[in-house]
């Protein structure tokens, strides 16, 4: 997106008040442009020259403002200030007027047929009684540069020439001549060059050399003369020095030569509408007649409005707000679009007058967008599409399951019901009657109790897989139930993770390593004992594990599980001949990262 640099103080002066940077950013944001950078002229120069100097107090602050690529009317301070003033309701939409000049008094531009070989179109206009000052003058030059960069595609499509009309005399001719036949003093030079020599001369000119390729290879170069054969310009390269504009220039002749006529007209319109504000008769533009060799002629610029009929329902239906015709009209006015109730059909449409500055408006959707911008995107009521929320605990469980499997463990899925013995005495545990959900009518001892840990299921699996090659590395993520007075039914589920290593040795360090890995994947740091910002391991003394080779896992100050070498008595209870290490922990505390 193009960026426009404007002096902050001049801009605020044009807007009629000063803003804090935040306020101005807010205004830009709402309107759809962006304050990209705040700098100073000198800072820019320092940056270019890689100088390190302290910024002075008195340097003029420059706002670099990013504008949409299709809004050529925002490429200069004049247009930007006007758009923002209207947006804020400070100004009316200007009416641009093409001065009514009798046909015999019209300035004329005669187009020679040879121009079709290289650059076939030219359009012109005159601004009368312009008052320049240094800032306006610079803005006038900058706008040409930005137009050249953007819509003119680096002068290939359109090139703009501006001249002091009082230094030249119409009628003018637009011709295409062999370079050797063209001689003139170009802008910023004092001696006369032949066009082919000039091209050679500019090959070392940093600014101009990139445009030379547009005509360089052509046998004829486009050139504009006045009636006295004074060269106005050698488009798209350079103007003549003779007609150069200055701060004192009053009457400006603007010519745009082009390979694309539509774009030439847009560029001319932007030039004249932006700077007609400085004319003696504000917003008045004098037309110029372009006469082609076949006798056809055009009087330009065309500053008429383009009328677009837009149904109200299309606008409100697309934005999702309900607005009446008056509201839409006043919103559109803020965006420089005049709107009136349509007289046609049922009167539920508006007729929008698109001014010559708004070449970006092609369709009703562009109008609709402007209504939405003026209404304020951030005031539009939300309408959310139907969407689904996951069960976080199940998602976390699945993610952890994958991680454990990636660590080389094989998943098992064991029963939730087990015998009372398996859950307690076989694990060397005593039932303190405070945890287990007990079934009243079991069919067999296999279903006496809801497991309070995953350990017995895992050990039973090892006991039944004696022939499996060692080491055995298995895990399970599943629910246990524990009594909980706060629940309506008096019990709750708890999501557990258990993993076991069984081999020729206990694999205790491997299980320790798995604990660290689990903590790593849930993003918890290893901290010193007592620190509740992460996790630490503390010696424990649980009956199911071998004393001295077991530890408690403390996560954010809370005991969440234990790991250790399974006690040899427990191994023998489950008929396991090989040493095992085991870890079990509650993963519900990992729900909150």
């Amino acid at each position: 997106m193009p960026t426009v640099s404007v002096g902050r103080d001049r801009l605020f002066e044009a807007l009629g008040r000063t803003y804090t940077q935040e306020e101005f950013e807010e205004l830009c944001f709402d309107f759809g442009v962006e304050l990209d950078d705040v700098t100073t002229e000198k800072a820019v120069i320092r940056k270019e020259k890689h100088l390190e100097e302290e910024a002075g107090e008195d340097e003029e602050v420059i706002y670099k403002i990013e504008v949409p690529a299709n809004r050529y009317d925002l490429l200069c301070l004049e247009g930007l200030a006007q758009a923002l003033r209207i947006f804020m309701g400070l100004d009316e939409i200007p009416k641009y007027i093409v001065s009514n000049i009798p046909s015999e008094s019209l300035l004329k531009m005669h187009v020679k047929p040879e121009t079709s070989l290289i650059r076939p179109y030219v359009v012109c206009a005159v601004l009368r009684g312009v008052t320049f000052d240094e800032a306006r003058y610079n803005s006038f030059i900058d706008l040409q540069d930005r137009l050249h960069q953007n819509i003119c595609r680096r002068r290939t499509l359109v090139a703009i020439g501006t001249h002091d009309l009082d230094a030249i005399e119409g009628p003018f001719t637009y011709e295409a001549l062999p370079p050797t036949d063209i001689n003139f003093v170009p802008l910023k030079q004092v001696k006369s060059f032949r066009a082919d020599e000039l091209m050679e001369f500019y090959k070392t000119d940093l600014k101009l050399k990139k445009f030379l390729h547009i005509i360089e290879k052509s046998p004829v170069f486009p050139v504009i003369y006045d009636r006295n054969r004074t060269v106005l310009s050698l488009p798209p390269i350079i103007n003549g020095a003779h007609s150069a504009i200055s701060l004192q220039t009053k009457n400006v002749f603007i010519e745009c030569t082009a390979t694309d006529l539509t774009k030439a007209k847009i560029v001319l319109n932007i030039m004249v509408t932006m700077f007609s504000v400085y004319c003696e008769r504000k917003f008045h533009v004098e037309p110029v007649e372009v006469v082609y060799s076949d006798g056809k002629s055009n009087v330009l610029p065309d500053l008429s409005v383009f009328n677009l009929e837009v149904p109200l329902s299309y606008i409100t239906g697309s934005i999702g707000v309900s607005l009446d015709l008056n509201q839409v009209s006043s919103l559109l006015n803020k965006m420089q679009l005049q709107a009136e109730r349509s007289v046609s059909v049922d009167g539920r449409s508006i007729v929008v007058s698109v001014p010559p500055t708004r070449s970006d408006v092609l369709h009703a959707c562009d109008v609709m967008e402007d209504v939405a911008i003026a209404y304020g995107f951030n005031k539009i009521p939300k309408r959310k599409p139907v969407s689904l929320k996951p069960v976080a605990l199940n998602q976390i469980s699945d993610l952890i399951r994958l991680e454990i499997a990636m660590n080389g463990f094989t998943e098992v899925l064991t029963w939730i019901l087990c015998s009372y013995k398996e859950n307690f005495s076989m694990l060397n545990r005593k039932d303190d009657k405070s945890t287990a959900v007990i079934i009243g009518n079991p069919r067999s001892t296999d279903f006496e109790i809801v497991r309070t840990s995953l350990m017995s299921g895992i050990l039973k699996t090892v006991g039944h897989n004696k022939d499996h090659p060692k080491p055995i590395k298995i895990f399970e993520v599943g629910d246990i139930s524990v009594l909980d007075e706060t629940k309506d039914v008096g019990a709750k589920n708890q999501r557990q993770l258990a993993a076991l290593y069984c081999g020729a040795n206990s694999g205790f360090e491997l299980i320790h390593c798995l604990v660290d890995r689990i903590m790593e994947v849930v993003g918890t740091p290893f901290v010193p004992i007592g620190d509740d910002k992460g996790y630490y391991i503390r010696r424990s003394n649980e009956p199911e594990f071998l004393p001295g080779r077991q530890a408690s896992i403390v996560f954010r100050g809370k005991h969440i599980g234990t790991f250790g070498i399974v006690h040899p008595e427990v191994l023998s209870n489950f008929d396991i001949p090989d040493p095992c290490s085991f870890v079990e922990l509650n993963i519900e505390s990992f729900l909150w990262s």
């Binding site: 899925l413 939730i416 069919r443």
Partner: protein
Amino acid sequence: MAEDAILGFLEKNEKIADSGKFASNIGIDHNEIVNVIKSLHGFRLVDAEDIKREKWVLTDEGKSYTVAGSPEVQLFLAVPPEGISREELQKKVDPSVYKIGCSQAIKNKWLEMGKAQVSRKVQQVEDQVKDLLLRIQDGEVHAVDQGDIDALKKRKLIALQTWKSYSLTKGPNYAPKRKKVATDLTREHLQRGDWKDLEFKEYNFSAKGQPAEGGHLHPLLKVRKQLQMIFLQMGFEEMPTNNFVESSFWNFDALFQPQQHPARDSHDTFFLQVPSTTKKLPEDYVERVKRVHESGGYGSRGYGYDWKREEANKNLLRTHTTAVSSRMLYLLAQKPFAPKKYFSIDRVFRNEAVDRTHLAEFHQIEGLVCDRGLTLGDLIGVLHDFFSRLGMSKLRFKPAYNPYTEPSMEIFSYHEGFKKWVEIGNSGMFRPEMLLPMGLPEDVRVIAWGLSLERPTMILYGIDNIRDLFGHKVDLSLIKRNPICRLGVD
């Protein structure tokens, strides 16, 4: 050396007719040549054909005679021309020489063996045995009579040795100089840069690769994951089902399941000793449920029995995930109505005898849609969508009975493998007596279906005993071998 000799010879000659001769010609041990031939043959640089040959070689005894002379000659020489006593002679020679020498010398009529005195019968003898043995040792077997060979063999002085040699021609990979063969590309190869000259040993692709060490997910849970995906793709939201302990109220009463229903029998349901009863229920809703059971309402006659709160308070292990659905629908009814599509896949418990296809616990898959104006057509449509994603597109529906759905439909799918219709699940539209007491608007209907996770998994992985799939008796190798689950993928 040997390899260069073979490959070099074959470069100029068509054939090495006999590796044995070749070996002796170039003065390299034949065994060494044979090793090289085997290796060259393995890489098909040469083609080798076996030649079986037999060869007489000297026994150790025979070899000793080539040096010391035959025992008979030794004995003869020990006898002086004037004769000698036996005792003296025995002292002069080795006992074995004496023994063998005596018998041979007598046989040759060289010596007179008197009782006390031994004397020469002839003045001179030739050691023919030694000469023969030397000839055989030098490979001049052809110069030895068959009779002599037989005699030497009989005396165990020579033995027949079978002896293998090869005839060699160029193989398909013949090269005058063999490239180094490698079994793997190593860091050294890269560092030295000699990987360009490497020839790789033929890899055996008919054997499987080295077994990988890695982790594995459980097959049943892989199927669960795919089913979750299918539900999510159909726009269903998962219900939280992490509560195994449930009250009879939410498990049965809220579903308009009468308190005398056989499913509520202790033969089918695990009731709890601890915690035995539920403490908290939404009282006004309980009142509406009681009324609809006892005397109806909402256009229903009710069941006409005395509804007992104690019965509803009894805790149990949920027999279906529909207990969770009833809680979710009740919560939904407490807010301004918004349509919902819910699913769950989790453990349920039945106090049933365990056999090949039944366990006391299994996983229930449940889906439900709650919206205004739903029809039976919507139910059939959603079932077709769901089951066709499981690869079952040929469905039909059988009228059935279920206390909380009306109509109730059993879902049958045509199994192409079994060539018959198999029941794959249950479905229906929840009864107004269930929905209206919750407070849902009158025009809201709920369609739902359920099936077990185990059954499709068993069919998918070809498992016929449920205990091989789920529980501690599962073979870990089976878990490790199982393939990815493609349900919902194609």
